[in-house]
Structures are given as structure tokens and as C-alpha cells.
């Protein structure tokens, strides 16, 4: 996203600063911000970025009655997705796919997500390279943060985001997330002036001293420790890259604005009502972060699959209800469980609306994104790993068709996450292992 002009400016700035004291460089605001079509930066011609926002809700849809009877465009939105009606033409529903165990014991609330998010199931509890992590590895280096990962209920371990080094604990505090993104180190892309921080430049130089010792540090280590050290240097490089980006004048972004400072400290929550308040805070912060191009990949988990979230005044959690509540003989589903699920999806709708309210040239931020919703069990009452529901909202800058129900009975759920990668421009043709492996996307999704 940086233009040669910006690089030149930066070099001049740094030279001026090193020559003695910082200088202030004035740059025009919004001058040629976007091209005439409103789909690319005018200065560089680079297309406006596509973003990926994954979103985890616990305990699926309770029963197996949710899949629409017809596939394609004219399907009837199921009861469970009623809240998303305003976005019906801009979302896709995927049904019918499974996670295959291949002889591995099903560790409930884990193995299913392991299979659909990483394409593999293992008995060891390993969790590496989730789909959002792979996408972040491919597109995240162009923004200040490769990805942002949050959890709403206060338990950082409830995150489902992972890189090659392992699972990424979620940020639980909106206040801390605000500081991380919009505190020291943040540069307003629309500010009239840009002054690179001299200390940031020197810090970056100082940190490079560690990399210079890499050979020395690893000389006495075995292969496993060398790999561990490799992950250390990957993380160090990521920090250096963050500092490098902070030293550059950011491209003006019309849609970018700084959100209100969040005060929530991320303490553990047990009431869904409180959890949804925090959900809204996190969604707002992440929407601003995406609009300001601080990151292009975000991952939100409301809570862990075996969630302890419950209603005010009721001692039984959503998860406990999935197992203990009788199916209503008239309605045919668990009424209390459905209530929880409705809360989540009303908040997903609000998240989508938030993204849609941000206008970037000829499209909204939602149009330039995939909001990817996934869960741990389709029918948690049975700990089922069959017939997983997935929902996507947004068309990834036109990379995917929308308004469709894709029914793939008996297929591997990993095909959906392979489709997400290809929609996000990741050059991957094969994904997953064993029976979960696939070599092509879900038919008809990509444009």
C-alpha cells in the first residue's frame, strides 16, 4: 500500500531527523485519495484491500433441522438465521459437510473445530495454522498487525486462531485492544502532518541486534530448539515490521476514524448480556482497525464451545442447556438453547451492519470483506460433528457470489475453509489431511 512517494518522504524524514532533530512533513489530505472508480488508491494504483473476519459462536444450532430444503439462490432462510434476514442477499449458507475423524477420538468441542479450521484432526490436541492464520500469513504483512484475535468472555484460551507456531491467545480486554491499536504507535492516516518517532527508529535498530546474534544463539541447539528459535525470530520480525510500518506515513483513508476509548478491562464474564456488550465493543474496535488498515484479518470468539455463559438469574449455562433441556414436543427444538443462539446471531447481524456502515469508495467495508461464521458442533446435544453450518457475509471485493445456500452432503468441511483461502487470494490448491483433505473449493462460490 505504500507508494514510492511515501517511501521517499519517509527517507527524507529520517535523514532530516538523523541530521539533528525531528522535522515535520506536511502532506495533502485526501488529495487523490482513491482513483476515479473508487476501488483503488490513486497514488499507487493498489486495489483497496480485502479483509477476513472470522467469528466463532458456541454450540451450533442445537438440532439437525436447520438446513434449508433447497440449495441455490431461492432457499428459505432457516429459523436459526432469522436475525440475518436483512443480509440474506449478501450472505451464503453452507450445509451438509462433516469433519471426519479417521479413527481419532472426538474430543468434544475441539476436534470438530480442529478439523474445519485446520483441515486436520489429530489425537494429540495439536492446533496449528487455522484458516485465518494462513490468510494472515498471506495478506497480513501489509498492515501494522498481521491479525487481531479477541475473545469476549474473558478467557484468552477460547481463541481458535493459530499460526505455525501454535494457537494465538485472544485479547480479552477492549481497553487493552484499544491501546494496542490506537494508543502510542498509531498514526492517523488522515492527519495533516506526519512525524516519525525517532525513538521508534532507534528501537528498531536496537532490536536488529538480536537477529545479528541468530547464528550464535542457535549453534548449540538441536533441531527442535532451532525450530523454536525460528518461531522466536518470526515473532521478532513481526514486531520489527510493526515498527517499520509505524515509521511510514500511512496512505490517507477516508473511512478511517479513531473510535472512542474503551474502558472494559476484560474481566471474566458469565452473563451473556454482558458478553454481548463486550462483543459490540470489540466489533467496533475491529471495524475501526480494519477501516484504518491497522490489520486485514480479525478473529473473534464469543466464548469457548463448552461455554459458561448464561442468562442473568439462571444458574444453567448455554452449554449445560444443550445437554439438559428437553426438546419442546410442539416446537421440535430446545427453546432455551435457541434463545442463546438468537442472541449470538443478532449480534452477528449488528457486526455485519457495522462493517457495512463504513464506506470505502464505491463499496462498503463489508463488501470488501468476508465475515466467516463457524461453530464447534452442529448439534451439541449429541456432540455431533456432522452437517456443520457455516455462514459468510460480504463478497470479498467481488471474489465470491452471495445470496446462496450451498448444500454439500457428506463432503469435508475443510472444503469450505479452502474456499475461504482462495477467495482471499491465497495460492493454495490442496488443504487438509486424510478424509478431510480436499483439492478444490466448494463449487460455484468463487466468481
Amino acid at each position: 500500500m505504500k507508494s514510492s512517494l511515501e517511501n521517499l518522504s519517509r527517507r527524507r524524514v529520517l535523514r532530516g531527523m538523523l541530521a539533528g532533530g525531528a522535522v515535520t512533513v506536511g502532506l495533502p489530505i485526501f488529495d487523490g485519495l482513491l482513483n476515479e472508480n473508487g476501488n483503488a488508491f490513486a497514488a499507487s494504483g493498489a486495489p483497496l484491500p480485502t479483509r477476513f473476519a472470522s467469528w466463532f459462536w458456541p454450540c451450533g444450532f442445537s438440532e439437525q433441522d436447520w438446513a434449508p430444503k433447497t440449495a441455490g439462490r431461492d432457499y428459505e432462510l432457516p429459523r436459526q438465521l432469522e436475525a440475518l434476514k436483512p443480509f440474506k442477499e449478501r450472505l451464503n449458507l453452507f450445509s451438509g459437510s462433516h469433519v471426519f475423524l479417521d479413527g481419532v477420538a472426538n474430543q468434544t468441542h475441539f476436534t470438530g473445530v480442529q478439523g474445519l479450521m485446520t483441515g486436520k484432526v489429530t489425537s494429540s490436541g495439536d492446533y496449528f495454522n487455522s484458516v485465518d492464520g494462513v490468510i494472515a500469513d498471506n495478506i497480513g504483512s501489509r498492515s501494522r498487525f498481521k491479525s487481531l484475535v479477541v475473545v469476549c468472555d474473558g478467557d484468552p484460551k477460547a481463541s481458535w486462531s493459530a499460526f505455525a507456531s501454535g494457537k494465538v491467545p485472544g485479547e480479552v480486554s477492549p481497553m487493552a485492544l484499544y491501546t494496542r491499536i490506537f494508543g502510542p504507535g498509531y498514526s492517523d492516516p488522515n492527519a495533516a502532518t506526519f512525524v516519525p518517532d525517532p525513538e521508534t527508529m532507534v528501537t528498531k535498530s536496537v532490536l536488529s541486534g538480536i537477529s545479528e546474534q541468530r547464528a550464535d544463539l542457535s549453534k548449540s541447539l538441536g533441531a527442535a530448539d532451532k525450530q523454536k528459535l525460528d518461531y522466536y525470530f518470526t515473532a521478532l520480525r513481526s514486531l520489527e515490521q510493526q515498527l517499520e510500518i509505524q515509521l511510514q506515513k500511512p496512505s490517507p483513508l477516508e473511512a478511517c476514524s479513531k473510535p472512542e476509548e474503551a474502558k472494559d478491562d476484560g474481566h471474566p464474564l458469565f452473563l451473556i448480556e454482558e458478553g454481548m456488550v463486550r462483543h459490540k465493543l470489540f466489533c467496533s474496535l475491529m471495524t475501526h482497525a480494519l477501516a484504518c488498515d491497522q490489520t486485514r484479518v480479525v478473529n473473534l470468539a464469543i466464548t469457548q464451545g463448552m461455554t459458561g455463559l448464561r442468562r442473568d438469574g439462571d444458574p444453567t449455562s448455554h452449554h449445560s442447556y444443550t445437554h439438559e433441556e428437553p426438546v419442546d414436543p410442539v416446537l421440535g427444538y430446545q427453546v432455551k438453547v435457541a434463545w442463546f443462539q438468537r442472541q449470538y446471531f443478532e449480534n452477528l447481524r449488528d457486526y455485519a451492519a457495522m462493517l457495512d456502515s463504513v464506506k470505502e469508495g464505491d463499496k462498503s467495508l463489508l463488501d470488501r470483506s468476508i465475515l466467516f461464521a463457524f461453530t464447534d458442533h452442529s448439534a451439541p446435544r449429541l456432540h455431533s460433528i456432522l452437517n456443520y453450518p457455516f455462514i459468510t457475509i460480504g463478497n470479498a471485493n467481488g471474489a465470491i457470489k452471495t445470496g446462496m445456500h450451498f448444500s454439500t452432503p457428506g463432503d469435508t468441511a475443510a472444503r469450505v475453509t479452502l474456499t475461504m483461502q482462495q477467495a482471499m487470494g491465497v495460492h493454495v490448491s490442496s488443504w487438509g489431511a486424510g478424509s478431510n483433505q480436499c483439492n478444490s473449493p466448494v463449487s460455484g462460490v468463487l466468481t
Binding site: 477420538a105 475441539f110 494429540s124 492446533y127 494465538v168 536496537v206 532490536l207 541486534g209 518470526t234 449445560s320
Partner: protein, 547 residues
Amino acid sequence: MKVIYRGSLVLAIAGAVSLAGIGLQTLANAASPAPASADTPTTLRLTPSQYRQSISDVFDSSIKINGRFEPEQRDQGLLAVGARTENFTDSGFESYYHIARGIAAQVVDTRHRATLIGCTPKSAASRDDQCAASFFKRVVPALYRQALNEAEIARSVETAGKAADQLHDFYSGVRLALTEMLVSPKFLLRYRNMEAAADRPGQERINAYDKASQLSYFLWNSTPDAELMRAARDGELNTQKGLEQQVDRLMQSPRVADGVRGLFADMFSFSDFESVSKDPAFFPRYTLLIKEQAQEQTLRTVVDHVVNKHGDYRDIFTTPNTFLTMDLAALYGVPVVDRTENGQPQRWVTYKYEDGNVRSGILSQASFTTLWSPSARTSATSRGKALREHILCQRVPPPPGNVEFKFVDDTGNPEFKTTRARLEAHRSEAMCAGCHKLTDPMGLSLENFNSGGEYRSTENGVVIDASGELNGKPYQGPQGLAKAVHDDPAATSCVAQRAFAFATGYVPPKDDRWRQIEQTFSQSHYDVMALLRAIALSDLAYSRLGV
């Protein structure tokens, strides 16, 4: 990385797999070390508590650690093992960076610089290599836990000097160089480098400085002090006599309590309190303060018993002796009166329960009963699972999928008013019984303690039946459970394994050297201090492990 699971409220076993035959022997095997691997990581990341204590020891206890460490990962039951097997992540490293910046800024601030830098630069606006060198000569070996390395000192002095020149500030230069040190692998990772043993041709031994680090973090939960570093430098740690002298010195120090606290906080999984909360609508006495005090009560009870009294480890499950604050006493319904200082309600006072009180022993303390319960109600299964896994080192298989929960569906059924009734209905199915018989009888005997740690005699108007069973022997109530755990050989075996893993990052191999340590522990009448000493003096703890 491995994902570790908290207990499930409702366990279930697939009908296709009968677990009726799963006994404790099988479970004990499941807890054994993984198959030997040709190459597993040996380096250990400092745990947050080790990091905090190290900074306090190298600099000053007034230096605050601002920021949240990346959550630790538990492996083989301990964070100390996860510290070896887990990798750095981008966001975790970013946290280290921000914490390091905060520490370095405090070290050079006007409050601390005179004492912690130890010299005054000729000019605060430029580099002063002499002053910087005197600081780094003290700090570099202490942080890196290695011999004084002149090249390393020179590198830090040059880094600080260049930064000072660029920022026109001596203290900024030192601050940034210190920041770099605090995010260096040399500080964040503890090494277990092996070298040729000069006195034993063809054999290897651990590097003496790495040995000093292992000893110090094991027994003090902190970085080696100057005397231990000297012993490493002079080769004394390579001799049995020198090792004994240092181990005895460390164990006679009051600081050994920090090591014991570190071990048991890890073993009892207290880090999980980070995500525990209780609904004040149900448990108004359970506050954030109680959450802290519950952990502190158990650690004080353990330290008093094993460090101060050299008591039999098994007695921590039955001891009537403990420590209370006014808040804890109110939670437990205990009439404590603090006569020592008026107006200090949170002062810790010793307390002894009368014989046979249900509150005797650590299992009835809030640190156990509240940690393993959801926010508003109990989970006998979770408590039983935690007992198996954290106290007895046995693994409970996870529930597989596609299980029918019809036996616990109907909570409105008058026959299923209590947790016991619902779980027994669920357990009546053979497919469910395999696992639940391992967890529920133990957990159900703690049903007298609600999710907030308070005592109760009824649930939904029905008198709680707190009977239970362990290893086929029935017992009655929390006291019966405490006695059953006390008498279970798995309890002493478990703490011995955990202590070794806490020291080394590895589950002990079941060889003769390990059996010798277990025998020493047994012969000492399960004195944990004797166990720690045996581990600290054993060749096994300093050998190449995991192969």
C-alpha cells in the same frame, strides 16, 4: 501447541467403546511420558512468575511488571512442561516487548537510576561508555544467567552508546539496550546445554551455569544469586560435595518457600483462576479478593505443612491447620476473631479446625471447590476430573461425540432434583459409566460445597448425599474423600512426578534413578523437602531427558 481441556460438565462415552475395563493402571499409563523422541525442545521459557521474581531479584522489588503475559500452556499437567514445549507467538512476543519497555523505563527513571544504574554519566545528553559498562557488567550475567562475557558487555555498551548518540540521552540509550536484553532469548529462555564431562571420559553433563539456573528456578522460583553463580563459575556445582553445599544453602533459605509455592500453584492449576468468576447474585461473598485469598490460603497451608513442619505430604488432605482472613472465615462460616490488630480484616491468622470438621484439608478449601465449578452451580464431574488429573496424575478420557443425553434431559423430573440424581441417571447407561465412575463418586462427595465455596447441606430442598468411592472403597463425605486421597499411593507418586517435572520440564523416566528418588521420598515419610533435595541432588535431573 497442544490444547488442554477443562473438565466437561457431562462426560459421555460412545456406545461402541466400552470403558468398563478402563482401570487406574490404564489411566496411569496414559499419564506416562510420551514415547521417546529423537529430538524434543530442551529450552524452557521463563514462566510469568519466574519472570516477575527474576526482575525483582536482578533490579528491585519496586519495579512493576505492567502488561499481561501471553497465557501459559499446560502440558503433562504442568505449565513448567508447557514452558518447554510451547513456541513464541507474534502477539505473545509483542507482550514481552511492551513489558520489557516498561521495566527498562523504570530502571532508568529518576527514582531508580541512582541505585540501579550505580553511576552518574559525565553528561546525561550523551553516551558514557564507562558508566554504561559498569551497569551492564552487573546486569548482563544476572539476566542471562551465564558467565561474565566481555564481548557481550561490549556489545551492550555499544548498543546503548549508539542509541544515546541518536537520542541525545544517556539514559535512553541504556533503556533501549536493556529493553533489547529483556526480549532476548538469552533472558526469556533457560537452556539445558550438555557438555563433555571432564572427569568422566565419554560422558556428558549439563553446563554448570544451566545447572545453577535449573536449581535456582526449582528451589527459589527465581534467577540464581551471586553465590550460586560463583559456584558454577568455580566448578563446584560439578562436584557432588559442591552441589550438596549449594542445595542445602538454597533449602535452608526462607526463599525455598517461593519454590514450593511455585510448584504447588502450578500443580493445582491456579493459573486457571484467571478466567474464573462467580455470579454475585448467587454468591455475594465470592469477590475478587476471595479469589486471591483462596489461592493464598492453600499455598500458606502447604508451605506451613511441608516447609516449616516437614510434615507428611499426605496430611495436606486432612490437616486441620490452616490460615484464614476475615473474609474467608465469613465465606466458610468460621467464627474467627482477629485479636492482634483491630481494623485489619484481611490479616492472615492461623486457624485449627476441630477434629472431623468437613473443612479440614485442602480439598474443601475454596481454591479447589470454586476453581472446578461453573459460575452458578457445581460440577461434580469437573471436580472429580480435577482430582484425578491434578492430584493423582491420572488422565480421564474425553467424551466422544454422538451421545444421547436423554437421562439428564428432564431436569423437571422430581426424581432428579440433585446433581447426584441427575448424574446417576446419566451414569446408569453403560456407555456413560466408564468415565463417570472415575470422576463422579469423588466429585459428588464435595457436593456440600457450592460453586462459591460455601457449605450447604441441601440442594433444591433435598439433603445432599455426599457419599463417595475411590479405588473400590466407599467413604462418607468430604472427610472420607480426604482420607481416601490421603491413603491413595497415587497422591504421593503424583507430587513426586510433578516436582521433578517442575524442576526439569520433563516427566521423569521410570528407571532405577527415578525409583531411588521415590524411595527416598517414601523413606522420609513423604517429606516434600526430602523429595526436593533428592531431585536436586540426583544425576537424573541434570541428564539429557526426553530421549
